[in-house]
Symmetry: C2
Subunit: 287 residues, 2 copies
């Protein structure tokens, strides 16, 4: 499928939105790209770097000519943004997003999208160690997965167009149910973030003399807690939007910790080795 | 303080033992270095790479001329090794170790060390992502911390010699009580390992169709769980040797998780942001 969008608007020109803009440009998939968002500084930088062709702080005005609108802001701002833009969207426009929560949020967005505009929910699983438009790269999505979670309302042609966009970006596209998505990402992404925040808080409660325990940490701790440097506001919103699944996963995790605790308490080396080996083998398989 | 050891024996020539051997050579701190350990393959490689000058699979024989013995095997093997070598150690020899558990283990080792031999307990906090003698480097300890945990029995001159060795390796030497050490490292190292193993086990319990959830994980999960690829046998031993402290830390961690769970359950965004922000600020401070 060959795709081309005369006018594209990216709302939220950070790492993900900016990288998608770079894909659109490098693969000649777009005529003109407009960057929108709240931060004037970010938009100015996006323009200066050539990531976008135009900028517009007013989301409503920014989308009125758009054939494709990509909502790439923090997920907690999605509903507000869709409310702002919905009356400005033109007939036949495709709206897609890159949010890491789907489920109920998709249902709410669908209710706000006017007739004749096509919403395609998406979630690219791309590296997040770096942030901001300065790090944006057309290569970001190469060899990654992008999840699309169409509903019975999703326009099939628009779904194919968005799928084609992500395939062109180098991603493998996986289609799944929005609720299945939220259960999976509660486990592989939202739980680890909550767990990393909890870990830093646990260790930082202790001091030896003047020195916080955290100052004795090595490379392993730094790897483990890297994701705890992520935006607290973003993860607050994700926890609120996907609360039910995240609560289930934290409980499962507490059970797994309790199994290790029990084995330590009983001095059960065989059980410990078994619990650690199964994890170790799984983890080594990930590379 | 200028130090020189005519004969050094390293028992366990892996990343840490091998790197210390490279420091001894590059800084001209040793006459001849003997590598000892159970794996013939590792010893052959250490010899071939020039990390050691001689090899000897018999620990007893390997130490009989040594002025400095470095025990760098997995910590679970320490007592057995010290039992094997103790009657072969020469008068005035210094024995040191690089184990990540001190406390009771140090007391037990001290009882096995004969009169006239000087034991100096140590723990270099060096990167562990890479393994094996092939990765050994004289630079490994530069800008790291090395903890020494002398007791009232520790010979002061030998302590100074070992301190001088680690300073020459580029490390900052921190002296602390062995029990304090075990409490700190239960928090910053042992707990994160147990938590990473528990995380992989939690996520790997779920599948979507044929696909294990873990296959949907991204860079964040891989960072978080990298330490879960560590040796299950080594971590079993550490959990058994430092069980009391690790149990305390797992419990503290469970409290921190419970606080996040409660805030999610009550939809308390303010509390979540507060918990995440404190962690995020601490973590960003680590770099």
């Amino acid at each position: 499928m060959s795709i081309f969008f005369n006018n594209v608007t990216i709302i939220g020109v950070g790492l993900i939105g900016g990288s998608l803009a770079r894909v659109l440009k490098s693969k000649n998939l777009a005529g003109e790209i407009t960057g929108a968002g709240r931060s004037r500084e970010t938009l100015d930088l996006a323009l200066k770097l050539g990531v976008v062709d135009k900028i517009n702080q007013e989301s409503g005005g920014a989308v009125q000519n758009a054939d494709l609108v990509v909502v790439a802001s923090p997920v907690g701002a999605f509903l507000k943004i869709v409310q702002e833009i919905s009356s400005h969207l033109k007939e036949g426009a495709i709206v897609t997003d890159v949010g890491s929560v789907k489920g109920d949020l998709v249902k709410k967005i669908e209710k706000l999208i006017p007739r004749g505009v096509h919403f395609v929910p998406g979630h690219p699983i791309a590296g997040k160690e770096k942030h901001g438009v300065a790090e944006a790269s057309a290569q970001l999505f190469v060899d990654t997965k992008c999840i699309l979670t169409p509903t019975e309302k999703t326009n099939r042609q628009s779904l194919e167009a968005v799928k084609s966009l992500w395939l062109t970006a180098g991603a493998t596209v996986v289609m799944m149910d929005a609720d299945a998505h939220d259960h999976i990402f509660a486990a592989v992404s939202h739980l680890p973030h909550a767990a990393a925040y909890a870990m830093v808080n646990t260790v930082a409660e202790f001091t030896a003399g003047e020195e916080n325990y955290i100052n004795f940490s090595g490379a392993g701790f730094r790897d483990f807690t890297r994701i705890a440097a992520s935006s607290p506001e973003m993860w607050r919103d994700i926890c609120l939007l996907n609360g039910k699944n995240i609560l289930e996963m934290i409980e499962q995790y507490q059970f797994a910790l309790a199994r290790i605790k029990k084995a330590i308490k009983h001095g059960n080396g065989e059980k410990l080795e078994q619990l650690f080996s199964s994890a170790s083998n799984r983890r080594r398989g990930l590379g």
